[in-house]
């Protein structure tokens, strides 16, 4: 005790500390604010400044006096409401899911070593990475495919069909058969749209479905579940009975109704299905939160004098996260598949370059042009399979406690 070292626990003068809540804004939240502010600003600009028939970015260039620059950079996008939401969701994903992996390298290393034991899941992750990047960046480089009847029914490269089916063969014609070209590696549809291009644009749509529904479901589900678990009593009772109603709600019928009244836009699909799909997540989060609350580390944190908000935010929610992530990963393929099914039945927006629409457009030509159905069908199949594998592997990898207990 002779030398005065200030950094020892028994020499802290606690009277000099004012009572704080112990909550400071994390770097992630700051980043999120920085990222979201321009997005919100752009959205508001779009909403109030840009006319119905104007495009957002050219108008922005005009207003900023940078039209020339915008034109040379090719900035002529006109994002829809769904695009804003999608970009916002991507920010949330990057900042609250990917960045923490970088911030906690030890944990990430551990997760990865657990995760990579599951080979199919690693392959799935690579595939989903391709779909993610393709969906995010593809539309920036590849124009939305246009109708061109003359280019219809071109076979894929390395494939050939009878010349009779092709309006004008772009490739080599031999023995009365039209060969595919590298101009259209996966062939074209009846309307002459390049299938690879449509698939890449379809990636965007699948990613929009995956990310936006996940954001909505997770937000409502986690909030509802934790509030319900911590309120207890009649609040809990009412909230859970409401959840039961949401779960038993005939969403499909509601969607048909909405479809006839407002039309079947992608946004409407996402909104309707996400709004009625959080029930399972809420239940799951509630039960998980209740079991986590019984753990001794919650008692220990209680004894530290931490606020209830801090306990929920820092201890309960992160410990329910692994199960939530797993559950959501298994929920996503359901949405993507459902969109494809509705599109196939002709209940979607036929203008939408989604995989389902592509499959639907090929169903009448199946006898001679199977690639129109097969290519997107295969991509859809792989994506759904990949999500399932991923969910399975995450379940194993994200639960270090189960692992530690198994080691005993």
């Amino acid at each position: 005790m002779a030398t005065k070292k200030p950094d020892r626990f028994d020499q802290v003068d606690w009277d000099e500390f004012t009572d704080s809540t112990g909550l400071s804004i994390s770097i992630n939240t700051k980043l999120m604010l920085v990222a979201a502010l321009p997005l919100v600003a752009l959205y508001l600009f779009d909403r109030f400044r840009v006319g119905e028939r104007e495009k957002t970015f050219p108008k922005l260039g005009e207003d900023l006096g940078l039209s020339g620059l915008f034109e040379t950079l090719g900035l002529d996008y006109n994002p829809s409401n769904l695009d804003y939401l999608f970009i916002f969701t991507i920010f949330v994903f990057l900042i609250y899911l990917v960045l923490p992996l970088y911030q906690n390298p030890r944990m990430t290393k551990y997760y990865w070593s657990e995760f990579k034991r599951n080979r199919p899941a690693v392959v799935s992750l690579v595939w989903l990475g391709i779909v993610f990047v393709g969906g995010l960046l593809g539309p920036l480089f590849i124009k939305r495919p246009e109708q061109d009847i003359l280019r219809g029914h071109q076979p894929p490269a390395f494939y050939h069909i009878s010349e009779n089916h092709v309006p004008r063969c772009l490739g080599e014609v031999s023995n009365g058969r039209c060969h595919g070209t590298w101009a259209h590696p996966l062939g074209t549809t009846q309307g002459g749209k390049d299938i690879l291009d449509v698939i890449i644009h379809g990636m965007t749509i699948s990613m929009k479905i995956a990310f936006i529904t996940t954001l909505i479901v997770a937000t409502i589900g986690i909030t509802f579940g934790t509030v319900s678990a911590f309120s207890g009593g009649w609040v809990d009772e009412i909230m859970m009975r409401f959840t039961d109603i949401v779960i038993s709600f005939p969403t499909f019928i509601l969607f048909l109704l909405v479809l006839y009244i407002y039309g079947a836009t992608l946004g409407m699909f996402i909104f309707v299905f996400a709004i009625f799909s959080w029930g399972g997540t809420a239940r799951y989060v509630r039960s998980k939160a209740l079991s986590v609350t019984e753990e001794e580390f919650i008692k220990a944190t209680n004894i530290s004098g931490a606020s209830k908000y801090r306990i929920i935010r820092k201890h309960v929610v992160p410990n329910t996260a692994s199960s939530i992530i797993t559950q959501l990963t298994l929920l996503i393929p359901g949405f993507i598949l459902f969109e494809a099914q509705l599109a196939f039945l002709g209940l979607g927006d036929s203008e939408l370059p989604s995989w389902g629409q592509l499959i639907a457009s090929g169903r009448s030509d199946l006898s001679f042009a199977p690639w129109i159905v097969l290519a997107p069908g295969f991509v859809l199949f792989l994506t759904i399979l990949a999500f399932n594998f991923l969910g399975d592997a995450l379940l194993d990898a994200l639960n270090p406690q189960a692992e530690a207990e198994a080691d005993k």
């Binding site: 626990f9 606690w14 209680n302 004894i303 820092k314």
Partner: protein
């Protein structure tokens, strides 16, 4: 000032309301802790011992105000509160149970707790360093580097390395985690720590290491400890004084050496006899407690231990072997709670007899005596007649009759009178009727002869 206890618990109660049915009606209360009182002095370790389910942990959480106690006072004089004295209306300004939110938070800095299960006492998604540092953060230390420096220093003190700050709980063994738990309890520099079975989940060798670490830290920082355990041998090693708890009540309290050398309460005796001896040649002379652990929602009347006590007092008009008396009381309780399966006994009797058809009454009675460890002949003639009569009823299937009769005939003072504490000198006190009534009973027996 120095003789003022750092913590005094007065008549602390924690009852859990039991609810049942559709309308959630209150049907009773489980009396987990039912009026315990003790003091802990500066630098002292008080052991709280008892079997599982006797309310030790509930007592701890109630003292720490993790749960709201039903009744009673917990007066905490640590952390510079020593100067306070009782208000005029009888309440104490240092009563934890009446602390405001702000006072409670300050109390959290001066009193901490270590938990039993090292595997669940850390958030698996937080590095252990940040779990410890969180305590500092919660109490307002915003300086990240200072937090880290303090925690790293502390990790070294508990025998780990500063690099362990960034590791996750699953990367540590049980013993290491308990060291970290100790660091977490220490980091706010408390005066008082509750250790709830801190070593019972650990291997023997690691147990000893952690115990000696606790001892060293206690000496260095003048900590007071409430050490909860069910293991008498651990208690003996670390505690200055011991309180023995049974079914929500303290039955005996005293200095460790005194209590171990000269246990006054039969329950303490039974616990002590259960300590294994290292010599394999000595046969365990364990006192076997008969009967079941009673339900805390409906504790036995009088002395709560009387349903299992091997020294249960015989009524004035009875004089028999103590084991036989215990057996008779157990038999009575079984008849009363209708725990006797007469059909099964008949079957067994028939097998014993090796006959066919129905077993004879005599054989059934012998079988009952066998199963309840009742001797063939009770030492006391009038008691023997009564027992025989009750057995007759049972054989005839008139259980209620038998139960009423047995309840009238065999009564122990233990179930009628709640024992008061008897002082055995030097703060050694126990709550057993034998001490207050011993002389009386002896006199009564002498009159009988």
């Amino acid at each position: 000032m120095t003789d003022k206890p750092i913590l005094s618990v007065r008549n602390l109660k924690k009852h859990y309301i039991l609810k049942a049915g559709l309308l959630n009606r209150t049907v009773g209360a489980a009396k987990a802790v039912d009026g315990i009182s003790f003091d802990i002095y500066q630098g002292e370790t008080l052991g709280l011992v008892g079997e599982s389910g006797c309310g030790k942990s509930t007592a701890a959480t109630s003292i720490m105000h993790l749960e709201e106690p039903t009744d009673g006072e917990v007066i905490f004089n640590g952390g510079g509160r020593a100067g306070e004295s009782r208000n005029d209306d009888g309440t104490h300004p240092n009563d934890v149970t009446k602390f405001s939110k702000k006072e409670l938070k300050a109390f959290r800095r001066d009193a901490q707790m270590i938990f039993q299960d090292p595997s669940s006492s850390f958030n698996p998604r937080m590095t252990v360093g940040s779990a410890i540092a969180e305590m500092l953060l919660v109490h307002g230390m915003d300086d990240k580097h200072r937090r880290r420096a303090i925690v790293e220093d502390l990790l070294e003190r508990v025998g780990l390395s500063p690099e362990d700050y960034d590791r996750y709980p699953h990367e540590f063994s049980g013993g290491q985690k308990q060291r970290i738990a100790l660091a977490r309890a220490l980091v706010l520099n408390p005066d008082f720590i509750v250790a709830d079975e801190p070593v019972s989940a650990l291997d023997v060798s690691i147990k000893a290491e952690v115990l000696s670490l606790i001892n060293d830290l206690q000496e260095e920082f003048g900590l007071s400890l409430l050490f909860i355990s069910h293991d008498m041998s651990v208690i003996r090693k670390v505690c200055d004084r011991v309180a023995v708890m049974y079914l929500g009540e303290i039955v005996e309290i005293g200095k460790t050496e005194e209590l171990f050398a000269n246990p006054q309460h039969p329950y303490t005796e039974a616990l002590l006899s259960a300590i294994p001896t290292p010599d394999p040649r000595t046969r365990a002379q364990g006192i076997e407690l008969t009967g079941e652990v009673p339900n805390p929602a409906n504790p036995p009347s009088g002395c709560r231990f009387h349903t299992r006590c091997h020294r249960v007092i015989q009524s004035n008009d009875v004089d028999m072997d103590q084991d036989a008396w215990r057996a008779v009381l157990n038999f009575r309780d079984s008849v009363r709670s209708e725990a006797i399966d007469i059909d099964l006994i008949e079957e067994n009797a028939l097998i014993e007899e090796g006959g066919h058809g129905d077993a004879s009454d005599g054989a059934i009675k012998d079988q009952i005596r066998d199963e309840f460890n009742l001797p063939d002949q009770l030492g006391d003639t009038s008691a023997e007649t009564s027992l025989e009569r009750a057995l007759d009823w049972i054989v005839d299937g008139e259980m209620e009759e038998a139960a009423n009769f047995l309840s009238e005939e065999f009564v122990t003072p233990c179930e009628e009178t709640v024992p008061e504490f008897t002082d055995h000198g030097d703060g050694h006190r126990s709550a057993c009727l034998r001490h207050s009534e011993e002389s009386q009973t002896v006199e009564a027996l002498a009159d009988d002869d």
